[in-house]
Subunit: 404 residues, 2 copies
């Protein structure tokens, strides 16, 4: 038989499988384990009936177009609908030509990376940050620099320090990746001052910002500070991206990028060779779901629904976890993040024991940290488990923490 | 404002927009121009009613799964359905674990390229070959070597010559890319001897083959030689890929790769960071369309439908084109390819005149040729225009050829 190893590219040889996805594969089907390891919406919120109807209507009504090849950039009517949606929801004023539709957020991350990153370039991220984004940046050859976060998001004073330390290498920094609202995994949200400071720094050092914004559409506290960086961006430095994964259905794989036309044009050319275009049918479905108000309905329903689950998790943690655990109190997103400040606590090393003996699963936080720290951390998802599972699972987790 | 040019990666700076897609954008909406430039199915063949019903059923019945995140490799039930389909249609005996679902063929090309190609590696292709495949290979850093084709497909004796000429550099060859049936753009089909020879050469020089097979499901001549290379592959050298774009609907963006498990595993890891997974809903729709026999129905209907259009084009060419034009007589696929053997004939240079003065469009063949020749060639699509348009368009084209 063939020895395939010599055919594998350096890039492919160096990347590791995503720990989360491997883990989910193991847990799947084990009914006795309570899992906080997912990052997936509660299917109870999927508007099945309405989407079934929309899909049918779209195919019957726009079939010749909806089933056909379409423009790489995305269908113009869909981009126009998104343009209105973004103005209304996020105060982002972009016309249809500033928008490119992508095959979910992951493809947006990949296309931005391929368009901007040369091997050896630097990407700055929050620490911790979204695992699959770090993976996409690394696969495309980036070196990562992490900037610690606190309750108010990326600590921009540390960012500026790091940039100063870089000296001439600051030219290699292609962009700063942030998830300002309901951060994944940390569950934190950037405040106004930090946002302002971040934009100032980007301007001062001539840098781009990649704003990943999947969670801001569903917020659990009225009056919370959730303005998008893009809406504050006067210089065209912010590349904004989002998705319908959390506000409609992830199985549709529809996301989008908003940026200056010159950048969008570059993304478009790369996308031609990456996947030609995103599924036409799914684009039409998303446009209908926006126009008919279906997405607004889902969001209205999801807010109290997830808020209640978040509250259950925060209460259970407060009751059960020892004092030496720090945890975030998210106003958005799907995650609580926890650091266990106890000597030698290794969330990754304990996971097998957690699953097998304590029947509870989480995502070890280490791999979210671009610089290799954070072994004492874990990400806890509250969107998918039931209230009862949250209470019981947190109790099991508390036991694991105390007994380890 | 920001000067974006310094942020663009070398890869993105070097790639050009796909000529075909740019061209289609220009022609779109110009009703007076007859276009042979597309490569798209006739929407009259889209089973709108049936797909509208299937989409509704899938969402209602499998909604929790069909709208949710899913496995990177593809939904297991869908891969199992494809496994049966491939055995039945193409005598490819692959189990579900040998299959990975991709976001259309283009994404398959990209994922295979990223997994196998290091910058400076060599990919061997037919000359001419599929433009967007050449683009994907180049974007991923490959140097291309073209091997001329004739009525019987890639001229394998020339392939062996080129491999010998490479000497030690043969180690840099990652794969040989072929479209054995109804080739795009040439409309040729490989005969048995050539297939056998190609597999022998791959074995002798320890090479992989990437078999792109979108067209073989719809064949216009009974008894034509259409066996897939994969079905003849004893050593695991063939990576097979196909799509529903020509047998159901391109707007779904569903394709697949079949290969040895070890390679599939590598593709899967890359795909995690490329697009996480292909749209779940679309995967379920494809599985239903296979299981309910809808794809078989479309194929049954498409065969005489496209065959008639092909015949109309071949007859019109025979009547109208001068003797110094060579053209292919395809048994499958959507294209007739033509070389105009007249001094200085430049299909690319003449295109603007063709569109503006003669009101007819085609794709200039030059960019299909990996080594820069073929300026005197053009690709003519017969699937999309009507019979009347084909007759009239070919007459206009003949006029252009004679008068240039």
């Amino acid at each position: 038989m063939v020895d395939y190893s010599r055919f594998i590219s350096k890039v492919a040889s160096n990347i590791k499988a995503s720990e989360i996805r491997e883990l989910l594969a193991i847990i799947r089907g084990r009914k006795d384990v309570i899992s906080f390891a997912g990052g997936i919406p509660d299917p109870a919120l999927f508007p099945r009936k309405e989407l079934a109807k929309i899909a049918g209507v779209v195919i019957e009504k726009y079939g010749d177009n909806a089933l056909q090849y379409s423009e790489t950039k995305g269908i113009i009517e869909v981009r126009e609908t998104l343009s209105d949606f973004l103005a209304r929801k996020r105060e982002i004023h972009a016309d249809a030509e500033d928008i490119i539709i992508t095959s979910g957020s992951q493809s947006a991350l990949d296309i931005v990376s391929r368009t901007l990153i040369d091997p050896g370039d630097i990407v700055i991220t929050e620490s911790p940050s979204y695992l699959a984004a770090l993976g996409a940046f690394k696969m495309n050859g980036a070196k990562l620099i992490g900037v610690k976060i606190d309750e108010n998001g990326m600590r921009t004073e540390l960012l500026e320090e790091k940039l100063k330390q870089l000296g001439d290498d600051v030219k290699k920094v292609k962009f700063i990746y942030v998830i300002p609202v309901g951060q994944n995994p940390a569950g934190t949200t950037m405040n106004k001052e930090r946002k302002k400071h971040l934009l100032e720094i980007a301007s001062k050092y001539d840098l781009l910002i990649l704003e990943d914004d999947p969670y801001s559409y569903i917020i659990y506290e009225e009056g919370a500070e959730t303005a998008s960086l893009k809406s504050l961006d006067k210089e065209g430095r912010v590349i904004y991206m989002s998705t319908v994964s959390k506000i409609l259905a992830p199985g549709l794989r529809i996301g989008w990028i908003v940026a200056e036309k010159e950048l969008i044009r570059r993304f478009e050319i790369v996308k031609q060779y990456v996947d030609l275009h995103s599924p036409t049918l799914n684009q039409f479905i998303v446009a209908e779901a926006i126009k008919t108000g279906l997405i607004d309905d889902v969001v209205q329903k999801a807010m109290p629904y997830y808020k209640a689950k978040r509250n259950t998790m925060l209460e259970a943690i407060k009751e059960n976890f020892p004092d030496y655990v720090w945890y975030s109190k998210p106003i958005g997103g799907l995650f609580v993040f926890a650091y266990v400040y106890k000597n030698g606590f290794d969330a990754g090393g304990l996971l097998e024991k957690a699953v097998k003996q304590y029947k509870v699963a989480y995502v070890p936080g280490g791999s979210f940290h671009p610089e290799g720290d954070g072994v004492n951390s874990m990400r806890l998802n509250f969107s998918y488990p039931t209230h009862e599972q949250i209470r019981e699972g947190i109790a099991r987790l508390a036991k694991l923490i105390r007994e380890s």
